[in-house]
Subunit: 633 residues, 3 copies
Amino acid sequence: MKRTLGVCYYPEHWPETQWAEDAARMAALGLTWVRIGEFAWSRMEPTPGTYDWAWLDRAIQTLGDHGLKVVLGTPTATPPRWMLDRHPDMLALDKDGKPRGFGSRRHYCFSHLGYRAECAKIVSAMAERYGKNPHVAAWQTDNEYACHATTLSYSNAAKSAFRNWLAQKYQSPDALNRAWGNVFWSMEYSDWSDIGLPNLTVTEPNPSHVMDFRRFASDEVVSFNRLQTDIIRKHSPAPIAHNYMGAVTEFDHFATGADLDIASWDSYPLGFLSDRIPAPADHKLRFVRQGDPDFQAFHHDLYRAVGRGRWWIMEQQPGPVNWAPYNPDPLPGMARLWAWEAFAHGAEAVCYFRWRQAPFAQEQMHAGLLRPDSAPAQAFGEAEQVARELAKMPDVGTAQAHVALIFDYASDWAWEIQPQGRSFSYFWLVFHIYKGLRRLGLNVDILPSDTADLSAYKLVLAPGLFTLSEPLKAALAAHQGTAILGPRTNSKTENFAIPVPLPPNLPGLDAKVIRVESLPPDVPVPLAEGGNLLHWREKLEATATVTEMAEDGWPALVSSGRLHYLAGWPDDQALTRILHRACAAEGVETDPLPEGLRRRDTATHRFLFNYNPVPAEWGGVAIPPAGVHWTEL
Amino acid sequence: MKRTLGVCYYPEHWPETQWAEDAARMAALGLTWVRIGEFAWSRMEPTPGTYDWAWLDRAIQTLGDHGLKVVLGTPTATPPRWMLDRHPDMLALDKDGKPRGFGSRRHYCFSHLGYRAECAKIVSAMAERYGKNPHVAAWQTDNEYACHATTLSYSNAAKSAFRNWLAQKYQSPDALNRAWGNVFWSMEYSDWSDIGLPNLTVTEPNPSHVMDFRRFASDEVVSFNRLQTDIIRKHSPAPIAHNYMGAVTEFDHFATGADLDIASWDSYPLGFLSDRIPAPADHKLRFVRQGDPDFQAFHHDLYRAVGRGRWWIMEQQPGPVNWAPYNPDPLPGMARLWAWEAFAHGAEAVCYFRWRQAPFAQEQMHAGLLRPDSAPAQAFGEAEQVARELAKMPDVGTAQAHVALIFDYASDWAWEIQPQGRSFSYFWLVFHIYKGLRRLGLNVDILPSDTADLSAYKLVLAPGLFTLSEPLKAALAAHQGTAILGPRTNSKTENFAIPVPLPPNLPGLDAKVIRVESLPPDVPVPLAEGGNLLHWREKLEATATVTEMAEDGWPALVSSGRLHYLAGWPDDQALTRILHRACAAEGVETDPLPEGLRRRDTATHRFLFNYNPVPAEWGGVAIPPAGVHWTEL
Amino acid sequence: MKRTLGVCYYPEHWPETQWAEDAARMAALGLTWVRIGEFAWSRMEPTPGTYDWAWLDRAIQTLGDHGLKVVLGTPTATPPRWMLDRHPDMLALDKDGKPRGFGSRRHYCFSHLGYRAECAKIVSAMAERYGKNPHVAAWQTDNEYACHATTLSYSNAAKSAFRNWLAQKYQSPDALNRAWGNVFWSMEYSDWSDIGLPNLTVTEPNPSHVMDFRRFASDEVVSFNRLQTDIIRKHSPAPIAHNYMGAVTEFDHFATGADLDIASWDSYPLGFLSDRIPAPADHKLRFVRQGDPDFQAFHHDLYRAVGRGRWWIMEQQPGPVNWAPYNPDPLPGMARLWAWEAFAHGAEAVCYFRWRQAPFAQEQMHAGLLRPDSAPAQAFGEAEQVARELAKMPDVGTAQAHVALIFDYASDWAWEIQPQGRSFSYFWLVFHIYKGLRRLGLNVDILPSDTADLSAYKLVLAPGLFTLSEPLKAALAAHQGTAILGPRTNSKTENFAIPVPLPPNLPGLDAKVIRVESLPPDVPVPLAEGGNLLHWREKLEATATVTEMAEDGWPALVSSGRLHYLAGWPDDQALTRILHRACAAEGVETDPLPEGLRRRDTATHRFLFNYNPVPAEWGGVAIPPAGVHWTEL
Ligand SMILES: [Zn+2]
Ligand SMILES: [Zn+2]
Ligand SMILES: [Zn+2]
């Protein structure tokens, strides 16, 4: 499959007279895909039950006439104002019980059955009308599930659905009481209708209660999405995608991914560096106009797994955005670098967001490929360059990685519920390990936590996994290679209790976590060979070999053959040493890279990406700031 | 007109037996004015419809008997408890929908018609009774509109009034939808009753929606105030004032000012330095007992404009206050310095707040001219000194400034709604420019954004103006002098959209802002000649002359003749250079002042104010800490 | 009375088959006490009115059979879910008006009469059944009143009870209006039903209003507690305790203490250092695994006063806890040190919390004496050592201190209501003075603010006392010794007004506070002899001798014979000098201690506690980290 480019477009924002010229310019630029429709419900169904498809018919036709393929989005992220008259209680409620109202987007509760029925209706109407349209070559469901923290709702609809979910799972309140340990503070329930949502409690609610609520909420996203995919598949052979976000873990993307053909994500490297990456100030400063050198790659690898190999960038930042705390202008070249990095990680398509900067409403300060006056913006020329370069490159092709890293959404919920120390985060722990691997120049595959076969990998890492699934346990047992587990791996039962025997309880590795401590960021635990544990450390009672020792005499890494357990959060120095040794032991070649330079091999090429604002040297090659370099393998 | 002193007094707080002695001491101190009445509703109308004027009659008589003139305040900032029984829904609601209840002050929604009727009744009763009273020489409406962030209300009364306001403005929902760009996220309305207030949305609401809500809310203050001035004018020839606050921009003070005769403000230099001025720690430390050296002057100049030349200090900080995060004791001399600075900027009167420190209720830790035990407090002697000094000085007289600075309330709303970067603030940008001018020793006139004649000024600055009004555009075109506009000037349409052609779209200056970036405070954009742009920078496509260049090659200041556009927020060094050159070009003499020393010329005198805690030298004169120095011109 | 050890145990959490073994191990460890029952309401009364005592009978019997004494807790901190069906409005409301719901603990409003009746019923049932049980040797009411900020409720039940309380106190609304100064902002009430709770006001409510609400809320805790003690005493001769917390001042512990036989508290040194002690970063770092060296001692001395000599530790931290921002592992030895320090301060018993770490529900990460797998945890061996050491030591015995420090809950409410400066806190001021005394090696007695006899003390300190009570005033007048009062002492009337004559108004000391200033932490007021006042300083008009002078010439300490008034918050250097001189003057021997080393004399022994992570030297003795050293006196 050829690597392709695309763009997001909103015909309803522009006079129809402009459509043909826009389409012609898109085609001339070398774009293949145009995503449309995902916020246009008020134009598709201006009043309840009355559809207006004519404009959309013409828009699709115009794009198709210019050889463009349409990704058609369902508009369910933006129910029109009339929806509230029909379903006043469809709004999600926030943790404080306040409604999250009309006037922006994503103002719905996933559990509201009336709203689900409305979604089914509009999706059916779209799928029936466009399912066989030759220009509609892909679908997108809704838009950025969970964006603006919209997964969790404390509405009556959610409460009622949660009770049903619990009744299905536990069958009796007594079973639930036992599973959750509700005896603890007289929290026992005698009836399903006793059970509330875990908000507005005096102090923290039972973590088992919250964990089930998080699972339920994730399941609601999955079934909401499946409602749409089931309908679309009835009418259309085109593949279906959803556009995920960065560092969003509110629902299990692997579970929604199972119902989709393609995973896609919306990549805003500068916005994300500004608004969600917890990096030190000097790091944020150095990469302020380029983005974090690993954040994009991490999500490329994650969504490649979520899409079972098929993934896109559905929205690529083209210039300054409007929504982060600070919105700098990308260094010239970054809009090209980001696209090439995605392709190097196996993307089938990269779509820039958006075609023309909209001069009105919420995102008027969000750059596009065109300026509001239709002149080309900075990214236009960079996209053009990518299009030219793509023409000479081979098809999509991903190299087999030797290293696997397990990522598990439920574990992020678990440690968000019970961090035990303010600076512990599952997501950022996994990302920290990923960064350590990337600094060594390694290709990494990210795998879900129910992976049943690890035979392709020489090195497997599974930090912070709440519970080891049965398939993964078996795969680890059968694995011929090095595995590094911990910290916190397998430290809870499915019901969110501490298992006895004590964790990690790994077959073949005699070690017990007898005590943990969470630490302020300025309290390191020094290791005998240099570096430290930070944020988190565990005290182990173990007969396994002590491979790394803390200066205070407690084990930091214990090993039994090729199975290792890491008793804390290693800093960069300690992490690099541990990973280096593991790679050496398995014969995995490493290539320590200078700051801000990153490497990725495809099946045919080796790519280098310079995220620095200054030139970088590597293997005798000088790579300019924001530069991309590739050589055939 | 003679410069005068006054004081705020609450006869209802003290035994009637004390009034005569108080009045005698006020007169002996040299005071002219006594403001009374503004919180006494529960004593004027103890039960609904039953008035008790006897005590107020006697209080006014007692003061008048001692030769004092009364400023009589309407008590509408403090509706009594019984008001809530009559109008339970008169409370404003905060952004979260919570009522802002009884128990302090300003607990009303400006849009509540029932409350407006009650205000009309009490004001009518007062105006009828005291309109011709020979001792009532001025009026004050309400007290500190907007104080405690009370302009915006999310009540039903406000919602209903907002819908009417929108219907008047747009005439049809379709016109509103087009003006706001509501197609963007399916936010289109089909009926006025669809439209809500822009709170409690999932993510940010449409900025056009918020902008109209802010305009509406400001208009509500204006009409609430006009309701009172219309009534008072029917019965009284005395001038009417309102007492504004510092750094409060929630409503358009020029618009309320148009219905008033005098602008006055409540000047709390130490409170404001502590609670609202975003200065670095070393600045706050140096001026902790003196206040920011420019904050008072800025407001003097602003309110002189709001009052069309006539302005007062209605409340002058006399000692420590009670309401700021920290409440230090002013350096001895500051209560005199602040008064003299006000007079140098053209104040007609300076009234200290308050006569005697009240030992009870919310402000018991707020100093007065007297201590709670009636002994003179620190400021008493300083006021006495000012009174003696005033006797020998000429009448109120303001020198014509050569420099004008435009200030626009709506622009502050606009950039609060859409800062685009966390550290961008219109108010503090304008204040930053003002400080730059003051450091050069310049007199500055502040002008509203609809100014139609700039012919008196050699140098005009208009930073950050959301939209250039037609009168100002014409005035700038006709202006024979230097004008420096930008950053962000004229970058939005009235409807809060990006205009095409792109901004600043200034006749005679070919320059387009093609991209902007907001920057964290630690990311400067260095300029070729030294100094930096901070917080904000714009990238220009321009054929105009590049007068200042960033080190990265983008223009920082472009010029066409005497019209300049500034493409960012200059730091002190860059700002001083730019202003210095502009003054030199226009033959405006500058006098760079040492830190904390400030100068102001009146029609007849040159004043110097030493805000430092240490002596300052200037032109061979040594000025002590908190010292005031004047020479005849 | 012999010093004893104990533990908290939850038979309902474990299979009954395990009870006997647990009891045997407790006895073998040397424990005397087992606290049970305090969260088990859902097991005692599974459905309304139906009791199940059988399991509790057997649990008590099993413990008793092993020679253990039971402390039986009433379960009123955890009403079961069915309670809400019976009393839906029993929940407390938070300051925003949101209900504080079911799902954790302490979800009740102290003022709800229906809930009080339910509490009376369950306590009666328990007292009747177990009042004469030979193994029930003590009682505990409820659990940790005020924990999770649960004293203040803004419910309808609270509002109604508050109105009654006010009516009792003031007899007429007019009297209340006068007492509160409600004329100030037209806040006058004409009927009790006009009066609301002091939340949700536009700006700060009247401090007199809040002060009465705080007194009322404290009284509600007292009467809630008395309801239980009255019932228990009818049926049981055993002493009654309540377990207080650290740095909790929401209610007057002296008042609840008057109805109890024993004061006890829950001592979590590492949790408290992490979550509530406002210490600088280097201090938090040094003591991260030991706790603040004075925080425990302060509470020991405070609760010894609250218990009129009889006090316990009801819950002693044994290892890492789960609830603080960071939860480190205590240094080995601390679980022993903390116990010994308690005994040195006069504790009768120290009970570790808890026996076995519960692997489920909210506190699953809270260590116990046993691990979840029943193996001994770190503290097990340390408790064992303490048990062995206790056997050889004499009975409980407290040395008479020469120094008294007054502590007053109402003063903490007062300065929380009106700090006047962000960094002023009564609690931390008193603690700061306490630390200064401890650094000098002094035994300190803490006394309530209505103490009528000071004759036992050579030195008395009373910083920050809102109002001097009549008994204390008389005791001070009669006192033959040194007294240091101030800052802020006696600066308000009972009604929360500034008294005239001005404070401190101390007989025999001519000094008036004519002005105060609150200061940011980086604005010191240097003293002539070194050191500074911080946070707070007062300007005095005084004829009394100036003993300490600020560099700016204002008095810092004024004295008349042995009566001193301190006009600010002294830093460590100034405080040490002042205390040193006072001790010298009174012939109180001081012993300045190195950092982290603390000393306490009992009637028979001198104890030294090394809170440092490194060895400490004292008097030629080397004390290891976490070491305890004692010598006979
Ligand atoms: Zn997006
Ligand atoms: Zn005021
Ligand atoms: Zn506890």
